[in-house]
């Protein structure tokens, strides 16, 4: 093998090796996303904080429905969640935008959506909540470290299932992560944030995509050239 072919292959191996890890992470995110899309679909409720499924009513509310508020106002308080009139609220404090109705009122803290399991055809309503365990001290939110999430899944029979999980447990089962997208203030993926960036020329275009593809081509050209030369 001539030195030129060897150098080409070696250069390709270096590029592929350097690009392999982020490419693996990207591929895993894409695979998880495709798996979610094949199995589930969700439909958020943007306009109301009330949902009904098969006669079962789910209401998310708070103590600031009356009063004069400005768009920039925020208040710290727990939200109240009622399922068929039964209080299933968590005492954790969230940020409420009392001026707004609908999804923007609890943006980043509470979300209400419909979840469809495409395989079984079952529908349910999901209320997701970010529960930091924060408390009110002198009217101000005392922030606790750590982020936890709570999902209330209400099926067509009115049966309610509660899931509590940490940020690290967001991808199992997969649907959890899609709710976390509504509840976590930063764009975040299933297993990593490798796709959750504002893309630039350097990342992810030049690195790892171009470097990975270029390295692969260099290896192929080097091996191909060597084989042709041998013939």
């Amino acid at each position: 093998m001539s030195a030129a072919w060897k150098n080409l292959i070696a250069g390709g191996v270096v590029l592929v090796a350097a690009s392999a890890y982020p490419l693996t992470l990207i591929e895993r995110e894409w695979r998880a996303g495709a798996q979610f899309a094949a199995n589930f679909s969700i439909q958020p409720e943007y306009n109301e904080n009330t949902e009904e499924l098969n006669g079962h009513k789910i209401v998310v509310t708070d103590a600031f429905l009356k009063g004069q508020f400005k768009p920039e106002d925020q208040v710290s308080a727990p939200v109240k969640i009622f399922i068929d009139g039964k209080d299933v609220s968590d005492p954790s404090v969230v940020e409420i935008r009392p001026y707004y109705r609908g999804a923007n009122r609890y943006h980043g803290w509470v979300v209400m959506t419909r979840l469809l399991d495409k395989k079984s055809g079952q529908k349910c309503i999901v209320v997701g909540e970010r529960t930091l365990g924060d408390t009110l001290t002198g009217g101000k939110r005392a922030v606790q470290p750590g982020t936890e999430f709570r999902l209330l899944l209400v099926d067509a029979n009115g049966t309610t299932k509660e899931e509590r999980f940490s940020l690290d447990e967001r991808a199992s089962p997969l649907y959890r992560e899609i709710f976390v997208r509504f509840l976590y203030p930063q764009s975040i993926g299933f297993y990593s944030s490798v796709l959750d960036v504002w893309p630039t020329l350097i990342y992810p275009i030049l690195y790892p995509m171009v470097t990975g593809a270029g390295g692969f081509l260099m290896i192929a050209a080097g091996v191909g050239g060597r084989l042709l030369r041998a013939k």
């Binding site: 768009p71 923007n104 606790q144 997208r181 930063q186 959750d196 020329l201 990342y203």
Partner: protein, 254 residues
């Protein structure tokens, strides 16, 4: 005068916005307003989004975690934050307005982009802190590092009369993130038709294409439309580099 108009509107059971006239005809529930304001916006729902290395502009962020500020809101007709926004007020059925839109109502708007050091700018709850938002010392390595405002030269609002009582407006743009050397763009090219041909049931039609990120909304007349949300589909900032997708929506214009 305003009170008289309000009384007239209430009497005719037509929803009214103070100061806005409504075309009415006897014995018909003709709903088309003289003015059809349109506001289209693209916004990042998250509070913040990661900023990858660019190796050209801010060296600190090439080796340390940095973030861009998002618009931190959900779909709402009164949303005040956005990346880009286009506005125009059509008057499709007013013979006194031969242009079909009100002069001076066309606007191409962008809000500034801001880059922050992640370690010093994020609070325990994951949001940008008030201290970071208020930071005015730029070019350093703590809190807010840089601010930039994208150009509006690629944004276009073009009107044509589609029919005697229908106006068509093309809303388009290809706006980049102004802070890094090169970034994938927010892209859209929409055609909106406000059609008052049918006096009893005026309609709107939206067609064209838009990028897979960020979220898009539109107010047309008094209606608010959630055009596209990337979150249920698991789409992220990475999707800014993806090809555009078709969009098609229509309904009654009120």
């Amino acid at each position: 005068m305003r009170n008289s108009l309000r009384l007239l509107f209430e009497t005719m059971l037509i929803p009214a916005i103070p100061g806005e006239a409504v075309i009415t005809q006897p014995q018909q529930q003709y709903k088309l307003r003289v003015n059809v304001p349109i506001t289209f916006s693209a916004f990042i729902p998250d509070n913040n989004i990661d900023a990858p290395p660019s190796f050209v502009t801010y060296a600190y962020c090439d080796f340390n975690p940095c973030i861009y500020q998002g618009d931190n809101r959900d779909f709402t007709p009164t949303g005040t934050t956005y990346r880009v926004r286009q506005q125009i007020t059509l008057v499709p059925a007013d013979p006194a307005q031969p242009l079909g839109f009100l002069a001076g109502t066309t606007a191409n708007l962008v809000q500034p982009s801001a880059l922050y050091d992640k370690l010093t700018s994020i609070g325990l709850d994951g949001n940008l802190t008030q201290e970071a938002l208020a930071d005015t010392v730029l070019g350093d390595t703590v809190l807010k590092i840089a601010v930039g405002t994208a150009g509006t030269s690629s944004m276009n609002v073009a009107t044509t009369r589609a029919a005697p009582r229908a106006m068509q407006v093309e809303l388009s743009g290809n706006v980049t993130n102004p802070i890094p050397f090169f970034a994938c763009n927010i892209t859209w090219d929409l055609t909106v038709i406000a059609d008052g041909t049918s006096k009893s049931s005026p309609i709107y039609e939206i067609s064209g294409k838009r990028g897979e990120y960020p979220a898009y909304d539109m107010s047309i007349g008094v209606q608010y439309l959630q055009l596209y949300d990337p979150r249920p589909l698991g789409r992220t900032g990475f999707s800014l580099c993806a090809p555009t997708e078709p969009i098609s929506q229509s309904g009654a214009l009120q």
